[in-house]
Symmetry: C2
Subunit: 364 residues, 2 copies
């Protein structure tokens, strides 16, 4: 158990945006929400997974929908509060702690802000070790834990308690409701026990986020390249350096979908990189080479500052480093690949771990 | 208080389909569900509105969605049961009785079938005095009663408890969820008190349905025209007699929408009638005359048997009588017309009561 204050929030926000691989929400809004909550209610208690009793009720809190929409439809803060109250009353049990469902600029921060407000601890764990666009894309799904009862709540005051026969139906019905509720909503989802968490969660994610943010922040002081410092910390690989020459982005079926194109600089001169995304970056390839593919992480960093850039933050002309990071081993199982691999998203390539792609330089 | 047995079900099914003005679900499936429930659980208790205590919790039960879909996606019966259980546990109060939300082949029967199964009484009242396609289109909405908390449940086992800031949001979010859940679902909606019911409900609707069904059934025995007998009972008007020459029907945004075209016979020879519908018949006009428009009731009856035909039952070549019936006075108020008048459905005509249209023969 330890306390999370303002400096930790700053670092976590950066690291979470990096592991958010372009999605998971805007880090600036997320950070402001968490800082404001600490200002108002004091520091947040962070628990290690092993500190949670086996029978405790743990409920992740998250934004669902297109992050592009959320930029213009800022949460009121009240919707998450009412979602938790609703779920407690539906389940007839007190919630012991909250946690992030994924890494991401916003979705790592919402549980922290909510925890401060409710006086609950946050558990240092998530269900992805990165961000993914659909709500069955969590290790809890791989381990047969139900996403429901889940609560969806919008900033107007509408809310819905959903119970479904499986998590694919949760995704379908919740997505339709989210779109109708304006494109982004707050959710309380995957209510589970401490035991579930110990079996199925990805541990110490907030700690990794904080270390990543710290590495990038402190690089300047030691005259180091912030990108290299981040890669050291995340055990990742530089895939490409380039300038954004095109960004094609649309909000479709409740997702921010598109392609970002980069023209190579330095040793990558002459090559063109395409990064495809659906809320998150999912596939990076040049005309010759496949560089990295989901479920491995693809992050776009500012070449100068090392700061991660979300899909909605990619701007024409920006100089970026595209990096690849191996995903959690749970995603590399058969069911993992089936759930979040390239074929699921409609990309006709096989999954090959990023460390092999980097070694072999696999050609297309 | 009285008991409803099999003969009453047969008659109510016919009268309800007539007042259902083409919508409200298939009368055959509805009747089977109710007869089966009586077979299994015994006769149903029907209460007069005045017999309900002011503070009792009354919950209407209904199908929501496109009736065309329901024909191929028959309810399991369990979904309504689980919807009621869910709502009781959400509200923390026992449900005293159920009731129909609207008249219609299916939606008049569902509360009867459910009541038999749950051992609850049914109240002889509804919120429309006819059928309408959207869920805010009830007298309860005119009187400011909330549609939520409402439960949606599908035959697969998915369900959702929805709470919204107003009934237009209920319609939007529930409709989106309904479409995603397969196009038709069972709902427990507009939970209200006995007092609400006394102030706002349309009374003795099941009694009227039964009388209508009985009038049509007994016409043969007295060698009378069943259509004329029905019109006498419903205080309605014959508008047109014709043969179906075209039926244009599609399922769009969760509704069965379309136009049925009739070529006049007998004294209507030479005229062509178009009936426009969105689940229910909403507008009847020839090239020369406006015959009847929502919220007044437009029913299509078989010229021979007098039996009502639903929009999905209209067949090429069928000889029909199209009849008009004045709606309940609550629909003729300013808010009533705004909620269910022709303009709401996108028809550029003013509402004129059917009895005036019949007298004047208003030309277009």
């Amino acid at each position: 158990m330890r306390k999370i204050g303002k400096q930790e929030i700053e670092d976590i926000a950066v690291g979470a945006a990096l592991l958010g691989t372009g999605g998971g929400g805007d880090p600036y809004i997320g950070k402001l929400m968490a800082l404001q909550a600490i200002e108002e209610y004091g520091e947040i208690t962070l628990l290690n997974v092993d500190e949670v009793p086996d029978d405790a009720l743990i409920v992740p809190s998250a934004m669902m929908g297109a992050p592009t929409v959320l930029l213009e439809k800022v949460p009121s803060g009240e919707e998450m509060f009412s979602a938790f109250q609703n779920l407690e009353s539906y389940l007839g049990k007190k919630i012991y702690a909250t946690m992030p469902i994924e890494a991401g600029g916003l979705n790592s921060m919402i549980p922290l802000a909510l925890a401060a407000k409710l006086g609950l601890p946050v558990v240092d764990v998530d269900g992805m070790g990165r961000a993914f666009p659909e709500l069955q894309m969590v290790t809890f799904y791989l381990d047969g834990i139900s996403a429901t009862p889940m609560v969806l709540a919008d900033e107007k005051g509408n809310n819905s308690v959903l119970s479904t026969i499986n998590n694919l139906w949760t995704e379908r019905i919740a997505r339709a409701a989210t779109i109708e509720m304006g494109g982004s909503v707050m959710t309380a989802i995957y209510p589970m026990t401490g035991k579930n968490l110990k079996d199925s969660g990805i541990r110490n994610i907030l700690q990794l986020e904080e270390e990543l943010g710290k590495a990038i922040r402190l690089a300047k002081e030691i005259n180091a390249d912030p990108v290299k410092e981040a890669l050291k910390c995340a055990k990742g690989f530089e895939l490409f350096r380039g300038k954004v020459t095109d960004i094609n982005r649309k909000t479709e079926s409740g997702f921010a979908k598109g392609i970002a194109t980069f023209e190579g600089i330095n040793e990558y001169k002459g090559e063109t990189l395409e990064v495809r995304f659906q809320n998150e970056h999912l596939l990076a390839q040049t005309n010759q080479r496949l560089l990295c593919v989901t479920p491995d992480l693809i992050a776009v960093l500012d070449a100068e500052t090392g700061l991660p850039i979300t899909t909605e933050g990619i701007r024409y002309g920006a100089r970026c480093v595209v990096v690849g990071i191996p995903c959690h081993p749970k995603w590399r199982t058969e069911k993992g690949i089936e759930t979040v691999g390239p074929k699921y998203f409609g990309y006709d390539v096989d999954y090959i771990p990023v460390e092999e792609l980097v070694k072999k330089g696999v050609t297309l």
